[in-house]
């Protein structure tokens, strides 16, 4: 492909590229090797989950994709381009919503921050914020401050702020780890729906094996000291998934065994 044609058909070219590609990535931090020999790709629109014991570099992996960290060796590419810093194409949902939201801004104000960063004019913001609040089930709560919202609602605000970026890659760092079981299940189903609607590629870190299988198209199992890829599992469960039926599916149970055995072995 010569230069002209690639300029004419950027979309087609982007589709052929993996959304996220790790190529022999190693990261040393404070004289210690955190992750080593990481090579994998995530296809556009894929929902990839990452599991593994604590200290295996799950969060590091996400930070490498955001560009907040740079690899010591190897290369991380997003949509075919080498990562050299944060980009608006990439959004990240942190676990600690209490610290990731601006406490002096209302829910609407927090979502608007992403639009302000993108230079959306003031008048257009209100409408888009209202649509996003509605999308994450927070219609009517826009003028509340984070401190006045429950944990689940605060996490919805953070998700809405990420969606406001219109990201092509959505990173999630144990987003539901601090929530109660019922809220967690509701949000799992919502995030699956929102992601399917937006077509974004997802890299979802969790310590919950069931959650990884329930949500993922593929599950990457990492191993600690140093963090490296131990196993990749394809999840062939039908979509849309269902909290009861999917979790009772024989394939779900089989994958759960495989992953569980793996974690036992490497722990």
């Amino acid at each position: 492909m010569n230069k002209t044609s690639s300029r004419l058909a950027p979309a087609a070219e982007a589709c052929a590229q993996p959304a996220i590609a790790f190529d022999g990535v190693r990261l040393d931090f404070g004289g210690k090797c955190v992750v080593d020999g990481l090579s994998f790709t995530v296809a556009p629109g894929e929902f990839a989950c990452v599991v593994g014991p604590s200290g295996c570099g799950k969060t590091t992996l996400l930070r490498l994709v955001t560009g907040l960290l740079s690899p010591t060796r190897g290369e991380v590419r997003r949509l075919g381009v080498t990562v050299d810093g944060p980009s608006r194409d990439v959004a990240i949902v942190f676990q600690d919503y209490g610290r990731a939201l601006l406490p002096w801004r209302t829910a609407a104000g927090n979502i608007a921050l992403a639009l302000e960063a993108m230079g959306v004019p003031r008048l257009a913001r209100a409408e888009r914020v209202a649509a996003l609040l509605d999308k994450v089930g927070l219609a009517g709560h826009g003028d509340k401050y984070p401190a006045q919202l429950s944990g689940g609602m605060q996490q919805r605000v953070q998700i809405a702020r990420c969606l406001a970026q219109g990201p092509r890659v959505l990173l999630m760092d144990e987003p539901f780890g601090a929530l109660d079981a019922l809220t967690r299940q509701a949000l799992q189903d919502e995030i699956a729906r929102l992601v399917r609607d937006s077509g974004a590629t997802v890299l979802f870190v969790t310590h919950d094996l069931d959650e990884a299988i329930y949500l993922g198209d593929r599950v990457f199992a990492l191993q600690a000291n140093p963090g490296r890829l131990a196993e990749v599992i394809d999840v062939g469960l039908p979509r849309p998934r269902d909290q009861l039926r999917t979790r009772e599916h024989p394939e779900f149970l089989r994958l759960r065994h495989v992953l569980f055995d793996h974690v036992q072995k490497t722990h």
Partner: protein
């Protein structure tokens, strides 16, 4: 009276009864023992003196002088400290270069610059304001720097991921996040300003509440001295209460009332 009734009465007791009862006990004890001393005055005499000072307006004149010096000194020293503190909080290089100078200047007790300020400004409100400004500058500088340094790192990360330019990271994230702690710094600074103002007046400057206290003491009028002390207590209390109320009003809903 049953246990339950006693509980109800106890719970209804207001806190201002304690100082009032304290004064009542002192009054009775002093009258009963008939102590005579140049350093003592009956609470009733003090109250009469306070009333006298209020009716002839002297107390307001003295208060205006002291508060006036504070109202000039705190904005000057506080603003300079605030600006420099923000800068040092944002720039590690500036912080490193300034650290030695700050640690050398900061331990100088503000009252030690009274003679210097007298040489420059003579006596009066300007010299007092200058000392207050000097005293307020350092705590404001250090507390503001720490407030900016203490901004939740996760918020800065969010700003970077959203692609906010550096200038907007400061104006939209770092500064608003530091504001509640800067306000607390302001409260502490005002407390320091009152101490330094009165000290300056007692030690050198013939204006304000401090001068009124030392004059009353030297002219052996303890009841006037006590009246001014009571007035200072009320003044300090009012200042702090109003600032706390302001803090709640400004940051209450957003910051969960945690910052008192």
């Amino acid at each position: 009276m049953s246990r339950r009734h006693i509980d109800i009465v106890l719970r209804a007791l207001p806190a201002w009864l304690v100082p009032l009862a304290f004064l009542g006990i002192i009054e009775l004890a002093m009258r009963a023992s008939s102590i005579e001393s140049d350093g003592l005055a009956l609470p009733s005499q003090t109250a009469a003196a306070l009333l006298g000072l209020i009716t002839d307006g002297e107390i307001f004149l003295r208060t205006a002088e002291t508060i006036g010096a504070i109202a000039v000194g705190v904005p000057i020293g506080g603003t300079l400290g605030l600006l420099l503190g923000v800068w040092l909080g944002l720039s590690p290089t500036a912080a490193r270069l300034a650290s030695l100078s700050i640690e050398l200047f900061r331990p100088i007790p503000p009252v030690a610059v009274i003679p210097l300020m007298m040489l420059i400004y003579g006596l009066g409100i300007r010299m007092e304001a200058a000392i207050i400004a000097f005293a307020c500058f350092w705590p404001m500088l250090l507390l503001t720097r720490d407030a900016v340094l203490g901004v939740e790192p996760r918020l800065i990360e969010v700003a970077r991921i959203l692609g906010l330019p550096r200038r907007k990271q400061i104006t939209k994230i770092a500064l608003p996040a530091a504001v509640p702690r800067i306000f607390t710094a302001l409260r502490l600074t005002l407390g320091i300003a009152l101490i330094v103002a009165v000290t300056t007046e007692i030690a050198a400057n013939p204006i304000g509440i401090g001068y009124a206290i030392i004059s009353a003491g030297l002219s052996l009028r303890p009841e006037v001295m006590y009246a001014f002390l009571v007035w200072l207590a009320i003044l300090g209390w009012l200042l702090n209460e109003s600032l706390i109320a302001m803090h709640r009003r400004l940051f209450g809903a957003a910051y969960g009332d945690a910052a008192t």
